[in-house]
Subunit: 352 residues, 2 copies
């Protein structure tokens, strides 16, 4: 089952509701682009590639459910829906990348008529989803080759099937290593505040039969010190042209601890997460999420702080490129200098 | 109200039950040394200085409730109680330091008779408690002088009145700065897994009217990067002779992030937390606590991970001395080289 897909028998986007995992695996069908935008905002679907695919399907949905009698009207509806979806979350670049690709697809075929545009948009969304899986499997092969046999790796947040359409980026590397029989064991950062590690990554690893233990985010340094840890593996929401990485809050501190212990720090990303238009990390917008995610345990509504406390809740941080050992992309492993390596990869992948 | 005290009208040790904070402020009276040891193990009382004082009172309690008819019997009981208390938690050195001081006190007066020993032990426990408060206030004065006006500081775990007998170490510095009117604002690491920051430090800061916001532990790097942060302030459970610091899990990663952003990293400790018998951090025993603290939200019993998941739960980590800017002790601020500075401080304080 894919994390994001088109409902077989009707115009709707089907998602696995990630807010309910691991307690229940509930698919939800969303029949308006507005509902998909809300699902992205509220993190029913999350992970840069997954929200990109969800937004692509949402534009196909906007077309399929459009009441417009002409292509000009449809084109306006698509742009309105794209603006709404683009604003749902600011940090991941895949969202905008997928929307732009869908809009270009529509624009190129606009003259052919309404039905042709609708069919083309659904086909393009399906293509984006299929490509995501293939891209992740390529990342998995390149990444697994970097790991020694029976590697212990540290993983932050969730970058698996749930964060993508299927297979996963950093977790896809872990999965490929496991399936190839080379042996792998995962220390899972729980990833506060929303516990994507403890809830989602742990659940996925259980499904795949990959051995793991959960640790609090602050314990990663302890395990890197004591070792041996073969690598720290993360995904990214956006990579700047210089190699600075925007990823789930806590990534930067993990990268520091990896560097301090000479442990490789790998960022597994599709080239669609590389944003060559942003020169460096400080220009990447960081989403500030509701304080309640910190003050209460996300999902449970269980308060963990005194009433009246305030919180700051940046959802991402920037890891400077100097702390990154290599990027693992679908066109290969990129080592420093990143400036040229990243731009070459985007060119080779044709995702610029 | 002191965190640890002698119950006024009876032989019992009175503690504020820190497992129930911030929901309720409940004093508990413990009338056997075994019950005090259990309270230390289960973290009803926590914080290196606080558990030291609790153990001292527990030996006074062992004496007060002893049925022995002679000092030889009492001496055996005291040693048995001390062994039990010493084993309650392995990392903080204050526990052993206080027990040794109490045993020396008893031994010195053993010949004087049962009542004299009992009185001397209660007097010594009260002295340890009083000294702790005075020591913390001295730390507070030395530390506050290191901070600029209107400083933003990052604080890990709880090091306040609740972690000591009263006033606090790192939080005592914050308190002194606040009371002196120099202005201070605190970013409070929530401190997973037991959330001493979100629960206890936030609660204390509210009581004192000190402005603060809670952040997840992984967000400290983000705030240190964006700045300006004047200092990271922590306590310690044990400092090795070379300056390596055993403190609450997550401290090492905070120290790395402070260093990477040229922010001073201060360790506020009474000299009783300095263990000159341990040459370096790797010789300090690190307590491994129950996995349930990670798999479920401590206090709530609310699961945050799929059933069947495993966790690793080291309670402390070691911060290498190279990441420490200075130690703030009751006899002054110690800057590198720490080897001589720490041993001089212990000598001057007479706590060797």
């Amino acid at each position: 089952m894919r994390t994001v897909s088109w409902k077989p028998d009707g115009p709707a986007v089907r998602l696995i509701d990630q807010r309910k995992l691991p307690a229940e695996v509930t698919p939800i069908d969303l029949d308006t682009p507005e509902a998909v935008a809300e699902a992205i905002r509220d993190m029913a679907v999350r992970g840069a590639p997954a929200i990109g695919a969800a937004a692509a399907y949402a534009l196909a949905l906007a077309a399929a459910t459009s009441q417009s009698k002409d292509v000009a009207g449809l084109w306006l509806e698509l742009q309105t829906a794209a603006d709404l979806l683009r604003a749902a979350r600011p940090t991941a670049v895949n969202l905008g990348w997928c929307l732009d690709r869908m809009l270009r697809t529509a624009q190129a075929i606009l003259a052919s008529g309404l039905d042709e545009v609708k069919a083309a948009l659904l086909a393009e969304a399906e293509k984006i989803a299929d490509e995501d899986v293939a891209v992740n499997q390529a990342i998995g092969r390149f990444g697994a080759a970097l790991l020694p046999p029976n590697a212990t790796v540290i993983h932050h947040c969730n970058t698996g099937a749930l964060a993508t359409v299927d297979w996963g980026t950093a977790l896809g590397v872990i999965r490929t290593a496991h399936e190839s029989g080379q042996g792998i064991y995962v220390l899972v950062d729980e990833t506060r505040p929303r516990l994507q590690g403890a809830r989602l990554t742990a659940w996925e690893l259980q499904q795949y039969g990959i051995p793991f233990e959960i640790i609090v985010d602050g314990a990663a340094g302890y395990f890197l010190q004591r070792g041996p840890v073969a690598a720290a593996l993360v995904g990214a929401d956006r990579v700047a042209a210089n190699g600075d990485v925007a990823n789930k809050i806590g990534t930067y501190m993990l990268a520091l601890a990896a560097r301090d212990n000479q442990v490789p720090f790998y960022v597994a990303v599709p080239t669609t997460s590389i944003d060559l238009s942003v020169p460096a990390g400080e220009a990447i917008p960081i989403e500030l999420r509701p304080p309640g995610e910190v003050l209460e345990l996300a999902q449970a509504g269980q308060p963990v702080s005194p009433p009246g406390s305030h919180a700051q809740n940046p959802a991402f941080d920037i890891t400077p490129y100097r702390l990154v050992t290599a990027f693992i992309t679908e066109v290969g492993v990129i080592r420093p200098p990143f400036e040229t390596g990243l731009s070459d990869a985007v060119q080779r992948a044709g995702t610029g």
